[in-house]
């Protein structure tokens, strides 16, 4: 019933919008005869990029951060003369942090606005909802921060041709952590202590384990906890007696904070590492600044990275946004625009199929959030940043290539 309603709504929107587009096209051709105009067609002097973002609702902070980053990139590109002389015009639609709204917005962008590509949504659920529209309407969709694997690969294991993402997927951070442990920290015997109640943590743990074992490391202890636990001492005592020289703890900050604190109390002094699930000010409150020393996390980017390109971006961003340092979402939004720009230039046209192919064949593109290539599943293979906690502050440590 719901599906039927959706179909009906979709059909009506589609019909209505094709009528409007038809009318517009009529105007456009008349306009062109009389010497050029600014209609939204693909042959004009503008390149329309849609932004289907969470500008209000429960995850509004993600969507607005992405929009701020993207705006800066668009402004920079337009000031430098645009793409092949054509200016980028952003078309922003607020999807209200809602998957159904995101679907409607995607239909509008594809059929009415006829954008070259869509940036967003920020979260995985809403992105998955727009991907079907993208495939039907042949509109490339680039999610800056949707990390779920099923955005680019559907349940049947088939590639969603028009779906892309700028961020790395979750298990990738497990690989990065493993490389960091082996190469930078020279760890030989590692322990894994993962949240057994989340797919995120389980994905990270298995990716980490695979890389460690393929590269001659040894997993000496593999333990699990369940979200909402508070007592980790008995399991940590067990971990300690296995004498690891590195402990990987994928999970979210609420439990990780307690694990780090209790581990240090029990005398586990080796490096501990996690991923972006640790990234919250609450972690420092829970674990305490001292216990967090000698712990590391992987993340998309750090505003303290000394790299010239990144520092230029940080400076430009601060100038445009009253001295606020850009966060990871700002950087991902910014990168999404530059990635689409690069694809349009390489495609040599704004034809959606050509842009899609160009996006899929991206190799070694230098962006803020890392040196960027796209694999056959449309997931980026790129540099990740490792941050270290020092006295409760995140400090840039290094960049790790997969």
């Amino acid at each position: 019933m719901i599906a039927k309603n959706k179909l009906k709504r979709f059909a009506s929107v589609f019909l209505a919008s094709s009528l409007i587009v038809g009318a517009l096209a009529g105007c456009g051709s008349k306009g062109e005869e009389s010497g050029g105009s600014s209609s939204g067609g693909k042959d004009s002097n503008e390149i329309k990029i849609g932004m289907n973002l969470e500008l209000s609702g429960s995850v509004a902070s993600y969507g607005s951060s992405i929009a701020t980053g993207a705006d800066l990139a668009i402004k920079e590109i337009n000031d430098a003369g645009g793409i092949d002389g054509k200016k980028i015009v952003p078309v922003k639609i607020d999807n209200k942090s809602d998957a159904a709204e995101a679907t409607t917005a995607a239909i509008k962008l594809a059929t009415k606005e006829k954008v070259v590509a869509q940036i967003g949504p920020a979260v995985s659920g809403a992105t998955v909802a727009t991907v079907q529209i993208a495939n039907q309407q042949k509109m490339p969709v680039v999610s800056p921060s949707g990390t779920a694997p099923n955005i680019t690969i559907n349940e049947a294991g088939k590639l969603n041709e028009y779906a892309f993402r700028t961020c790395f997927i979750d298990p990738f951070q497990g690989q990065i952590a493993a490389h960091f442990a082996l190469n930078e920290l020279k760890a030989k015997k590692v322990a894994i202590y993962a949240d057994n109640a989340s797919d995120y943590a389980k994905g990270l743990a298995s990716a980490f384990e695979k890389v460690i074992e393929d590269n001659g490391g040894k997993v000496v202890a593999k333990e699990a906890y369940v979200a909402k636990d508070t007592d980790f001492r008995s399991t940590l005592t067990r971990v300690k007696s296995a004498k690891p020289d590195f402990v990987f703890i994928p999970g979210y900050y609420e439990e990780v904070g307690l694990i780090v604190k209790q581990a240090r109390e029990l005398g586990i002094e080796v490096p501990l590492m996690g991923a972006d699930g640790w990234d919250s000010p609450k972690l420092v409150d829970l674990a305490g600044a001292k216990a967090l020393n000698n712990t590391y996390i992987t993340n998309h980017y750090s505003s303290e990275d000394p790299d010239v390109k990144i520092q230029d971006f940080v400076k430009a961003f601060k100038t445009a946004n009253s001295d606020k340092a850009p966060d990871a979402f700002n950087a991902l939004g910014y990168d999404s625009v530059y990635w689409i720009k690069d694809a349009i230039e390489r495609a040599g046209s704004t034809d959606s199929e050509a842009v899609k192919d160009a996006l899929a064949s991206t190799k070694n593109l230098t962006l803020i959030t890392g040196n960027f290539s796209v694999d056959k599943d449309h997931n980026p293979v790129k540099t990740a940043t490792v941050l270290e906690y020092k006295d409760g502050k995140q400090v840039f440590n290094s960049k790790v290539n997969p």
């Binding site: 508070t230 008995s234 005592t237 007696s241 307690l258 029990l266």
Partner: protein, 291 residues
């Protein structure tokens, strides 16, 4: 040496269960009500201690006292408002009311301050001693001694004071106690006050030891403490202490041999086994039903 460490872990966990279990067992002993809201009194105690420490800058012991007093008052209020009028109702009605009160406190707390967790500030300086290869923190020693101290005070109150005598009399036979001139209502309120004060103390100790507190933190420890009370023999005060300790050590041992995900299951397997084979608990006497 790993086992010494695990034993320390287990006893620390067990002493918190024991403190909560005491409140369950006392209330059950006196009015045959399983007070499911008891775990939430524990949560309230943790939050009062938290605000006392971080808001007013008090130390551990003043915060502990404030939390105990506030919880005692809170426990009596709950009893007077929700349970008193059900004294002659069926036991199932009282039980369902207890579940309702529990949910009311939990979600009332979320309504007032939101569901986000809070991190307990460090109030006890924490030194670590090495004892036969086990790391024992001064914090866990302090927690253990505070718990044992509170249990001793409780034993003193129950056995050596007038109110304790009244509590034992009411628990034995409320009708007869009334005829002997004991104010049954006040005695029941006193029982709630003492039980809730212990739960409040457990809340503060939990906060200091485990750092994270949130409005739903009382649910699992509350149920575990219930298991501990049944294990020791519900209604029997030394039984609750032993039950709590045994449960803490068993859970720790289950994790220590590598079944950390089965830890909660172990607690409930114990509950089922005890209900099948020895429903009156470790310390319970097999009393025959009087016809």
């Amino acid at each position: 040496m790993e086992w010494v460490q695990q034993l320390v872990n287990g006893i620390s966990l067990g002493s918190i269960y024991a403190l909560i279990a005491l409140g369950y067992t006392m209330v059950y002993g006196i009015i045959k009500l399983i007070n499911f809201a008891h775990g939430d009194v524990f949560m309230i105690g943790a939050f009062i201690g938290f605000y006392a420490i971080s808001g007013w800058g008090l130390g551990f012991f003043p915060a502990l006292l404030i939390a105990m007093v506030a919880c005692a008052i809170f426990g009596v209020l709950v009893e007077r408002i929700a349970y008193k009028r059900l004294r002659n109702a069926t036991r199932i009605a009282a039980l369902i009311t207890a579940i309702g009160v529990s949910l009311f406190i939990e979600y009332g707390m979320i309504f007032i301050r939101g569901a986000q967790p809070e991190a307990y500030p460090d109030v006890l300086s924490n030194k670590t001693f090495n004892f036969f290869g086990a790391n024992i923190s001064s914090q866990s020693l302090m927690i253990l001694s505070v718990s044992v101290g509170l249990m001793l005070i409780l034993q003193f109150i129950v056995h050596k004071t007038k109110i304790g005598k009244a509590m034992r009399a009411v628990s034995h036979d409320a009708e007869a106690a009334k005829l002997m001139g004991i104010n049954v209502d006040n005695t029941i309120s006193a029982t709630f006050a003492i039980g809730s004060a212990l739960a409040g103390a457990a809340g503060v100790i939990f906060g200091v030891y485990y750092t994270k507190i949130d409005p739903l933190m009382g649910v699992i420890p509350g149920v575990k403490a219930f298991v501990a009370a049944v294990l020791g023999g519900i209604g029997i005060i030394p039984g609750a202490m032993v039950g709590g300790m045994v449960l803490g050590v068993v859970e720790t041992v289950v994790s220590a041999i590598g079944f950390s995900l089965w830890r909660d299951a172990a607690a409930f397997v114990i509950l089922i086994l005890i209900l099948i084979f020895r429903p009156s608990g470790i310390f319970g006497k097999n009393t025959r039903e009087k016809v």
